[in-house]
């Protein structure tokens, strides 16, 4: 078990629990009562901690090393998953995975960023940072879905698109832009869910959808708190402040109307009950797909474009341009 810094009190209680169990086993004593009491204390302590998480703590949870990733959810939610590789152009990006699958009998194209589950795999998956070929593979699969009328599900979990030399030379910006353009007009339903980190263009590059949800302990922002701290505070030390200032967590995003809903996580985060999390995720995706199935492609595309058109916050003032001109 991995404990985050704000979970220290929990870690201590867990240690006590372990010792209690050991003592019980070694001394052949009945510790049932004490164990039960301690377990209750852990539960209520966890509840207390999780009721008051700040932005930075939620960012940490979104990056928890034991957090479930895309392939876990695909395998939990779907049957007959056939992974499809390659962008038909240059190579197969390992940071974005996807393929065909059956969601309770409905064929879907499901894809998402994939992070590695251990040190070796994290390298292999490039920490969930895709190159242009990853975005182009995603687009190829979405066009496949469109051709055969399959709904598209995208799962987002990335610290950003990969900032490398080859990524730039192969058109990272173009690949992301092209996806946004094509996804806006895709004739099949698109449901996107932020399951971990939603960092900037790398996230939205597979994230323009009819419905966009966030798991409770995830974030979605134009920049990570660390990079924001480095640029605006000229230091890496203000990530907590940056996380607050950016209002990047799911509750804020829903409040601003920039996403369509938040999917609650088990207390303690998705990693403490991954199967339960997958069940909740699947329920929301199926609900959304059912709503979208009733619409014509034209109506869906129209509604999708209008939804994004509404996103923005600005003021309208009386034009005062002529005054400025006269002054010169």
């Amino acid at each position: 078990m991995v404990f985050l810094d704000f979970e220290k009190p929990l870690e201590m209680l867990h240690d006590q629990l372990e010792r209690l169990r050991q003592v019980g086993e070694e001394g052949d004593l009945d510790m049932t009562e004490q164990i039960k009491e301690l377990e209750n204390r852990i539960r209520s302590k966890r509840k207390e901690i999780y009721a008051n998480l700040n932005g930075w703590q939620k960012v940490q949870l979104s990056r928890h090393p034991e957090r479930p990733y895309t392939l876990f959810y695909i395998n939990q939610m779907c049957k007959k998953f056939v992974e499809l590789h390659g962008d038909r152009c240059i190579k197969d990006d390992k940071a974005i995975v996807g393929g065909l699958a059956s969601l309770d009998g409905q064929t879907v194209v499901i894809l998402g960023h994939q992070k590695g589950v251990n040190t070796k795999m994290r390298q292999y998956r490039n920490f969930g940072m895709a190159n242009p070929e990853g975005y182009r593979k995603a687009l190829r699969l979405m066009k496949l879905a469109e051709r055969f009328g399959f709904p598209v599900i995208t799962l987002i979990d990335t610290p950003g698109a990969y900032p490398g030399v080859e990524a730039e030379e192969r058109g990272q910006a173009e690949a992301i832009a092209r996806n946004l353009f094509e996804m806006a007009q895709l004739r099949v339903p698109i449901v996107s869910v932020i399951i971990g980190e939603g960092a900037s263009g790398g996230a939205i590059g597979i994230g323009l959808g009819d419905r966009v949800y966030m798991l409770e302990y995830t974030w979605y922002s134009v920049i990570s708190p660390e990079s924001c701290s480095s640029i605006l505070w000229h230091s890496w030390d203000y990530k907590e402040q940056a996380a607050e200032a950016l209002r990047l967590t799911s509750d804020h995003m829903q409040h601003f109307g920039l996403i369509d809903g938040v999917i609650k996580e088990p207390i303690g985060g998705a990693h403490t009950a991954p199967e339960e999390m997958a069940r909740l995720l699947k329920r929301q995706i199926k609900k959304a797909l059912a709503e979208l199935a009733d619409m014509t492609p034209e109506a869906r595309i129209e509604a999708r474009i209008r939804k994004y058109e509404q996103m923005g916050t600005y003021e309208v003032v009386e034009p005062e341009e002529p005054k400025t001109r006269k002054r010169r």
């Binding site: 353009f181 996230a203 505070w233 474009i305």
Partner: protein, 298 residues
């Protein structure tokens, strides 16, 4: 002296762009260090007469270079709103007020409608001295409305990009402008009205990864820095030197991401030629009079 002279000549851009072209009689080239007078520089399309370095200029300068006469500014009534209450080393609201005062601009993008060799064109041009040309809600909304305007009147659109990317102080609102502008541009494509994207130095981040790369034609000024990630971030990531010419317009052209590179002195003629070429389709793609019946939702 410089500003006074230009004032006399009726140039409107004198104080508006003072950060990008500092006041003074002499200009020293950033690239070759040669000096020339401000007047020579301006008469040479804001390019160094010795080495052709394209000096960073602002939206008003581009309007002046492109339009036959004074254009009509559109959507100037839109202003940023600090809905997040964002504070870093200084409050975003103060930063905005100060920038507006210093630049006499209302956002990092200005939209204007006018004529290029008698043909109507809507131009949205960016100013780097307005918080790094960053994209926030106002930029997204101005582009969105520019698209609506172009659709309604069947006028082509030119966006001149010059941006460090997203406006961090608007967080996810800024990010969503990538989706918003890209989605709106699909309507131009469907209507068969051309959208041209000119990338100038520098064009990076969310601007490149959305509308800047989505032109029916994408082109750039010589030697412009164009990319997704900034060079500093890439260098820190890969921990080695970047290849020569990396992320320049010339290398993007070579890698297949630009249609052409255009020298600033040829810009107006090139745009004018394009408007003529796209017009001969006879499908009303450009330069048609306002259609009365179109009161569709846009």
């Amino acid at each position: 002296m410089g500003w006074f002279k230009r004032l006399k000549e009726g140039i409107q851009t004198a104080t508006r762009n003072k950060k990008e072209a500092p006041e003074g009689l002499w200009y020293q080239c950033k690239q070759c260090k040669a000096t020339c007078t401000r007047r020579e520089l301006r008469e040479n399309f804001h390019k160094c007469p010795s080495c052709n370095y394209h000096v960073r200029i602002g939206s008003r300068d581009y309007f002046e270079l492109l339009f036959d006469t004074q254009p009509e500014e559109l959507f100037g009534e839109l202003r940023s709103k600090d809905i997040l209450g964002f504070v870093d080393l200084k409050p975003y609201a103060d930063r905005l007020a100060e920038t507006m005062r210093k630049t006499e601009l209302t956002d990092a993008i200005t939209v204007a409608k006018g004529k290029v060799n008698k043909r109507p064109l809507v131009v949205a041009a960016m100013d780097f001295n307005f918080i790094g040309g960053s994209m926030g809600s106002v930029m997204g909304e101005r582009i969105s409305r520019a698209v609506d305007h172009c659709l309604e009147h069947r006028i082509p659109l030119l966006i001149i990009s010059k941006s460090g990317g997203a406006r961090m102080m608007e967080s996810a609102f800024s990010l969503m402008q990538m989706a918003k502008t890209s989605a709106k541009l699909t309507l131009m494509a469907k209507a068969g009205i051309p959208y041209f994207s000119l990338m100038t130095d520098p064009t990076t981040g969310g601007v490149t990864a959305s509308f800047a790369m989505l032109g029916d034609l994408n082109f750039a000024e010589p030697n412009a820095l164009i990319g997704f990630a900034g060079p500093r971030v890439i260098k820190e990531t890969i921990k080695r030197e970047l290849p020569e010419g990396f992320q320049t317009a010339e290398s993007l052209l070579e890698n297949g991401f630009l249609d052409f590179i255009v020298d600033r002195k040829d810009l107006k003629e090139r745009i004018s030629d394009l408007l003529t070429l796209f017009d001969s389709a006879g499908n009303g793609a450009v330069a048609q009079p306002i259609e009365q019946e179109s009161e569709e939702a846009g």
